[in-house]
Amino acid sequence: MKRREALAKLTGRERYVDDLPLQDFLWGMTVRSPAPRGRVTATRFGKDVDWSQFVVVDHRDIPGPNVVALIEQDQPVLAANYVRHVHEPVLLLAHPSRDSVRRAVRAVDVVIAPESPALDFRIAPAPDQIQYGPDNVLKHLQIVKGDVERALAQAPVVVSGTYETGAQEHVYLETQGMIAYLEGDVLVVKGSMQCPYYVLKALQQALARDETKVRVIQTPTGGGFGGKEEFPSHIALHAALLALKSGRPVKLIYDRGEDMAATTKRHPARVRHRTGLSRDGRLLAQDIEVVIDGGAYVTLSPVVLSRAIIHAAGPYACDHVRITGRAMFTNAVPFGAFRGFGAPQSQFAGERHMDVIARTLGVDAVELRRINLLRDGQTTATGQAIRDGTDRLAVLERALELSRYREKQPEHAAFNATHTTLRRGSGLSTFYHGAGFTGGGEVALKSRLRVAGRPDGGVEVLSANIEMGQGTVTVFTELAATRLGLEPEDVTIAEADTSRVPNSGPTVASRTTMIVGGLIERAADDLRRRVGLDDTARGGTVKQAIRRWHREHPGEPLLGEAAYEKPPGIAWDDKTYRGDAYGAFAWAAYVAEVEVDLRTCATRVIDFVAVQEVGKVLNPTLARGQVQGGVVQGIGWALMEECKWRDGAMANNQLTNYLIPTSDDVPSVRVAFLENPYPHGAGGAKGLGELPIDGPAPAILNAVARATGADPRAIPLTPEKLMELVDGQASVGAQQAAPLR
């Protein structure tokens, strides 16, 4: 089935938040902290502005607690008298003219008495930089399996390495924005978001309104990638405060510069490995330390750290594993959700380390992975027994075949021996991604969903899960239509409006198709039973029964319902971090072929093969598009996307100097799926959206290492950094590694 809303998007008719008609409204804007840490001693309003024309909101205008509800109640809606990062919101302004409000923001001087900021998560903070707990550690987590110290002591070989990954900006093409207005005494907030119920909760708490007095509506969302998971709550609150104070509709749309500077990014990370091996490369012990930069507030860092450590050991069998994770407080703009959610960082390190091991031991990189890949019945680092029947070796083999990995090795050797300035090589990564919330997260979410029977015999899916480009509307339509034997035209997907749709959970964590899609199937079954049919009834029979029900119950709603139920046999202990971390993992093997120009040290990916097993593929075009988009985002993260920092804030907050891949920077991404239907996923599907960002960076750096002989340990591997390495300087990561703490 073609994407349902494709034609509206192709013709420009789709209305995003900034496209919606709005009468007699004000433009809102945010005045932000100029300093990374300190007390706010004054806010001075410039004399050249007629301030009587402006609506001005500060922390005293917040009716409820001055906190944006999330995991911890630590992040203010507006700074009261203390700031912890550059760009922290301090004041809000609104005016009918966008130009005027922009000028006015520049005319406000927020005066800060500066204090010493913590700006490098990798080094211990000085005493006067401690701002969270005794040591600025936001969260500490550990996974222990077996006895890693003893196994390391007995291992014939130990290989160590330190790996680093940089921040990444989401660059959803639609910047963030919200509109807020009053409809009677109900506050309505509309905008670009992934999680309408997160926004609702934040509005209710800080504005002290019960849920009947707040309504949140998701507008068509121009990309999210996690960037619109938690941050939209802030903009929603800001727009709402201005609307409540002014009594007029308020539109608050970030331009690209503000969006890149002030919103979240992927957590920077440093990962250290100490690996015990047999001489032929069998993993005997994995000691791994993952440290991520959380930034100035907790946001989602504890759960990002959780996913990072759970994925850190890779899809390999090893009896003795210890993984330690720390999320550090710094005075950087807070980091947040980004596609992959910690797993790309830890798996970059793990997969680059596999090639470092291979080189150190003189073992073939493919063979090293082949002997260690999880076989059915073996357990992951958390002790989760993998028994899904997926042939992980076949996934690897398919990637090698499609990429001609083996044949290309002599071809590259011949090319590199004869070419004066170009070097080619191929690199591999094998990896996995757990779908859905980690551990007991899905149980805690208690997702609910409805499928309504319409008087015309069709059905409407009522869910809080949203379309942001990944294909929710199309896949939900297919799932409902398939389950009931209806045509796609008989199915509508309700707008994600919290006054109408139940809370089916956030649109994150590769959970929408696999988990929420499963609720659609069960709610459709429930609907069928409510009209007196069994689960075999399909098509016209269903439509007739729905119409008949409505004739017999005029004016009443006909609702099939479903709530999340944990698949049988899944058990997780959040205290010990032991058990089944995810209901299912998707498995993948990616091969990158690169060409490095030794004159410029620019790396070009010239071929990319992405093979994965994601359960049943429900819509091949959409699934392929998810993989291709994720791979290209991964190429950007690996080679070009570099945040430059000034006082913990992004200095290059422009698409002019924060570069993402263009069509001319990347090859066609060749995609293949192996299918092993997952019995507890909708239509047999497993989660897919995040998997493809985990594998490209290590495959690319492994390829660069092969091509050049350099030993890169950090991304982004920009030309400047590769030049330092090939110019004879030793590996940065290995030389600077301090002992494990």
Partner: protein
Amino acid sequence: MAALSVSFTLNGSPVTVEIDPAHRLLDTLRYQLALTGTKEGCGEGECGACTVYLDGLPVNSCLIPTYQVRGHRVETIESLDPGALEPFERCGATQCGACTPGVVMTAWWIREHVELLRTHSIRELMAGNLCRCTGYDGIIDSVEEALGERGRGKGEG
């Protein structure tokens, strides 16, 4: 600043707008003329989401002061024939849709100037339109289909 009256041809019809001389063509189209199909992605000519035709040439409307189009011809995404977009629906050219109108404008211009393909690849010609969702294959495949070329091998898909 005093308002300035500017007349130009928009999607085949004459229009006159009263503008602030500092306003960009993008703002005039979106906020004064309610043609919201043209999107703002970056506001500095990097992303191509705001692509329109000025006298038949694709330009970034965020870089054009509105007064510069006085007496000229402007065409926006709203002027294109939606009937010809089937390959773009079928091949996955759009995901989130925010870059899409700009992508379609550039793709259409390539279709009208196929002689460019003698010296440039589709990937080069599309490089002024950033897309963060598709990885570009869906876009390139769609342009190839729209041009009547046979799609090249894409692995197993």
